[in-house]
Amino acid sequence: MIGFISDPWPWYVAGPVIGLFVPALLILDNRLFGVSSSMRHVCAAVFPAKLDYFRYDWKRTGLWNLLFVAGILVGGFLASQWGGSHDVAISESTRIALTKLGIHNFSGLAPREVFSWTALLTLKGFVSIVVGGFLVGFGTAYAGGCTSGHAISGLADLQLSSLIAVIGFFAGGLIATHFLFPLFL
């Protein structure tokens, strides 16, 4: 039980637990599992700027989602306090490929030479964090969902639109990994 709280979960625990959020949220109050709409709700709440896209009752539609997202942040914090600080046990071939790209620090959840405040204004830090973040926010809004909303909720409900979106997710991810990374890392 202690291990369950502090150690990484095997895939056959992690995947099903993630999947169960879909029926849990539906049964709780008809909410569709998804995270990216929280960003739309924040925009609607903070700077709607009279744009049609942000003119709706965000409290009614989105308060649940904002609380869910606040919980994710707290959950990440709790997990980091309970867990041992193991490195992520990635495969040797990935380690070699990343070393060739100039990544040398394999401790933590993301390489510190890219994802740190000191790296933020370097080319690799700026592209990864600022440009990457912008594309996440723009792309999920355009596509109407992210990994949770399309890949999991949408595919679970056999939605063709979600299948198209997920193919797009992987197309974009493969392009970035194999063609863009060598240019800026």
């Binding site: 990484p8 992690a14 609380l67 994710i72 990635i90 996440v136």
Partner: protein
């Protein structure tokens, strides 16, 4: 107290207590999801790289089993006609396909960002909780991206 104020007070008093409990439940669900994202390691840039390089089945096993469990649950909910805890029927609104451009184009743009940041939206928040605080900048940038979509939406093909 004016009549209006009185009626507001009454409404608040009469509002079912359950609503607030439900809001707290979403927060608790979020905490559990944040723990899940951390323990499953799907929030790790390294795992995302491993996935996009096809060098481990782990991420694919996680995503596939998540979809299988969610799909079986949704099918069961529909077949048994299950209702929410407050008794409403459960509806999954179909997404409007249109020309499908928004899904292909938006999906690809998000995919680029997913690989660059090594995180989709849920993990961005979980990473901040895990102490990778620079991801606050990625979240602000993502908000700017969503807001920019709000401006450009009338001009974009959907």
């Amino acid at each position: 107290m004016s009549t209006e104020q009185a009626s507001q007070t009454r409404n608040i008093d009469q509002a079912p207590e359950q609503d607030e409990n439900i809001l707290l439940t979403y927060f608790l669900f979020g905490i559990f999801f944040g723990i899940t994202l951390t323990r499953s390691e799907v929030l790790s840039w390294f795992r995302i790289q491993e996935m996009f390089r096809f060098q481990s089945p782990r991420m694919y096993e996680i995503i596939a089993s998540a979809i299988a469990v969610a799909g079986a649950s949704v099918a069961l909910i529909k077949r048994l006609g299950l209702r929410t805890i407050s008794g409403e029927s459960i509806e999954l609104p179909p997404k409007i396909i249109g020309h499908g451009v928004r899904y292909a184009a938006g999906g690809t743009i998000f995919g680029l960002g997913w690989a660059l940041t090594g995180a989709c939206p849920g993990p961005l928040f979980a990473l901040v909780g895990n102490g990778v605080t620079v991801m606050i900048v990625a979240i602000i940038s993502a908000l700017a991206g969503t807001w920019t979509y709000g401006i450009l939406r009338p001009k974009l093909p959907h």
